[in-house]
Symmetry: C2
Subunit: 474 residues, 2 copies
């Protein structure tokens, strides 16, 4: 494993240089988290379809358990069970609107991962950076377990477990565990753990911070004491074995029938009593058990939907978990949210609700969120509701600002709600929720036929764990 060891050393060195102003020592995180011997245990795989651009390049990298789609290149990097999904990249000739300008994309966009170490990280969407429309780069970066890099070119960053950076270009930043950042552009910041920060300059600024003692119960991480731990990790570990069969079998026959316009990824786990409605998208690495997925609902990557019912047109964004949860129509559950009721006391979420990214609703007594509410933070009982939710209509009326417990909002509530609503609509459209048999195709329809190729590293010798150089074109 000589080569992979020196690759890891090189990546660590590069990230340390980028983060030198933060006085942040990256070494213990890199060195104590994933034993390199894991790197030869899992194959990587990439999707071949006529519906997605096909252009892969891999060199000097280790890719264990990682998934690739669309146009992407990986050089001098270690990717462990990560998802690099280049199916939403911009095409040559596309027009990118930015403020008052319309910028023409001059070549097909590519995801470019370089000198980085990504652990169970999702890299999705496309570069929202008007400065770098053709290159969705991830350079000199360490992203830990279940980080989301969503439409966010990233350079010289360290992302802690379950952190999300969304539509935000980041340079030389440290993002604390379970923080969600959507601010457009940022550099040289150190974001504390459990920060939810959504900002549109000149329009609004939403800021919430989880109480540290509560956050620690769900996700705790310091490199000295080993891998991340807490409720999130325990929950995932308990279901890990179910994924083994899915990855071990070459051709897998779906265990359930799905309608013609829906798609169920062959790398999803489907346990008994799962109903899939029309135009439903079930993405790879998602997990369904005893659940009803109504028309146009989706379960995105790393989602777990257990003993739950989604009436229809519900979005379960990357990494969200629903346990004993009843979602009325058009509910949005943001990234990495954790919604857990109990068998006789479910969580009920009314129609049109927006559950903000990285929200935790975890209640032994059950709870009902009324229709059309915005929800954030941590809700453990009815008593938390007034400080962690608000009718959307009421939120829209905020013109100056608002402070409720750990949440601070500045600016225009209507603009904030409008931005969210607009994005949810776009997600439903893109996922094919509105497919009518002919028009409005989305992921649910286009992902029905994907062939997966698997690639393996050198099995022994100096290059053990490293992958050969691979180029794939149409």
């Amino acid at each position: 494993m000589r080569d992979i060891t020196s690759l890891l050393h090189r990546i660590t060195q590069r990230i340390s240089i980028n983060l030198r102003e933060q006085h942040f020592d990256i070494h213990p995180y890199v060195e104590r988290t994933i034993p390199l011997s894991q790197m030869i245990k899992f194959y990587a795989f990439y999707g071949i379809t006529p519906h997605h651009p096909l252009n892969f390049h891999f060199s000097h990298s280790s890719l264990a358990g990682s998934y690739f789609l669309g146009k992407c290149s990986v050089d001098h990097s270690i990717l462990y069970k990560s998802d690099i999904r280049g199916d939403e990249l911009k095409h040559k000739g596309d027009i990118f609107p930015f403020e008052n300008a319309s910028i023409t994309v001059h070549e097909d966009e590519a995801i470019d991962v370089r000198d980085s170490f990504l652990i169970k990280t999702l890299v999705h969407n496309f570069s929202h950076d008007p400065e770098s429309l053709e290159n969705f780069f991830i350079h000199d970066t360490l992203a830990m377990h279940y980080a989301n890099i969503h439409g966010s070119p990233t350079e010289g960053c360290f992302m802690e477990p379950f952190s999300t950076v969304d539509l935000t270009t980041q340079h030389d930043c440290v993002i604390g565990r379970f923080s969600y950042i959507q601010v457009g552009e940022m550099s040289h910041l150190k974001i504390p753990a459990g920060t939810i920060w959504i900002r549109k300059p000149g329009a609004f600024n939403f800021l919430y911070r989880f109480p540290q003692h509560i956050l620690d119960r769900y996700i705790l991480y310091d490199p000295i004491s080993g891998p991340p731990r807490g409720i999130f990790m325990d929950f995932l570990e308990a279901r890990k074995a179910d994924f083994k069969r899915v990855f071990d079998v070459m051709h897998i026959d779906p265990s359930i029938k799905i309608p013609a316009g829906a798609s169920l990824d062959r790398y999803a786990v489907v346990k008994p009593k799962v109903q899939i409605g029309e135009n439903v998208l079930v993405a790879q690495r998602s997990y369904l058990e005893n659940c009803w997925m109504g028309k146009g609902a989706n379960a995105q990557e790393n989602c777990y939907i257990i003993n739950s019912r989604l009436e229809g047109y519900d979005v379960t964004a990357h990494g969200a978990k629903l346990i004993h949860s009843m979602l009325d129509r058009n509910v949005f559950v943001g990234f990495n949210s954790f919604i857990r009721g109990q068998m006789d006391h479910p969580v009920r979420i009314g129609k049109g609700c927006i559950v903000m990214p990285h929200t935790i609703i975890d209640t032994p007594a059950g709870i009902t969120i009324p229709d059309d509410h915005l929800v954030w933070g941590i809700i453990e009982s009815e008593a938390d509701l007034p400080h962690h939710s608000m009718a959307i209509e009421q939120f829209s009326r905020i013109s100056e600002g608002l402070m409720v417990r750990d949440m601070m909002f500045e600016g225009d509530g209507a603009a904030f709600v409008h931005a969210f609503r607009h994005r949810i609509e776009h997600i439903l459209e893109a996922n094919g929720a509105y497919f009518d048999g002919i028009h409005n195709q989305g992921h649910a329809q286009k992902n029905r036929f994907i062939a997966f190729n698997t690639i393996q590293p050198y099995p022994d010798g100096d290059r053990m764990g490293m992958y050969p150089t691979i180029d794939i074109r149409p």
Copy 2:
């Protein structure tokens, strides 16, 4: 399947032009043999090891179920369940002895398949053509079920089922079913079915031809009546289902223990009661059931060894089948030979015997071949033995020639025997039979750790069944 249909058309046209002098109509063979819908059912796979050169290039091709190792490129071709094994290719700087010359190889040799259709064909070894040392080409060629192209650059040829061309460059030839040819170079010949022809100009010439009515029982083929049929095909079809599991599972744990210096390919079928000795090589697509593989024995690609015992240092060459057969030490069984005894009446083959390629021993009453005999043709009972075998020592004394039934030998018997013995020794060496824990490594040791990558075609659209362009380098 628009693209694969036009590719097939193009290949057919090219082969027809090459074979125009033979007035040979290739169309029915191409069109009626493999339904193109089969081409999306099976993945292709290539081996990644530090012990073999790694350099693949695929373009405009369909590769269903095919296996690749070493340096090879495939362009504008259809390969169906074929084996392209580039692990014995020459390296830059190697010296190739030819007659009185020593030719230096000026770059790493590659297998170059182009404009060809290969069905369940084995392509092995390296170019023995002093005119083309760096390029082991297979161009404009149709090779049918279980053909062997062994160290034989091939252009414009049609090879019928179970035919072998060995160490022979061939241009614009038709090779009949179950024919074995080893003549150095040939062009514009049409070889009748069941011809065994081994010739070294100026040294010897061995020629045997199977009686047609007997051959027809074992392998019969005309495109009008569909795929090949007969005992060979029935035998293989009956065991086809056993390979399914081997190909369907990503990681397969060996069901039996094997010694440290032996290798058992993960794409071999191992049924109960199999014993693998030291330095044994069991290659991919071989099939073992209730058998004893003594030290240094091997089962090469497409071999079936059932209810049989190999004492040690026995070679079972590509495609050979042993059923109820007891082989003493140092027995050589050539390509595609079919040796079948019965439970209470096995075939016993004495030590040091050479069973020529494409020999059939198929006897309900059992038979014993004495030590150190050369065996050829068809043996159905003791009565056939005098006309189809001879003590090697006696054969070595032939100085002018010999005719026995359907066999004709001209030239120097000792040279013939020496060439065979020399080659068998080389095969044992190359396969690692003489590994002592440190020295004399061969395939049995080097193939212990191979990672296999799988590749799939486009799953739908115009390109359905075609593979993307793929380049793989170290």
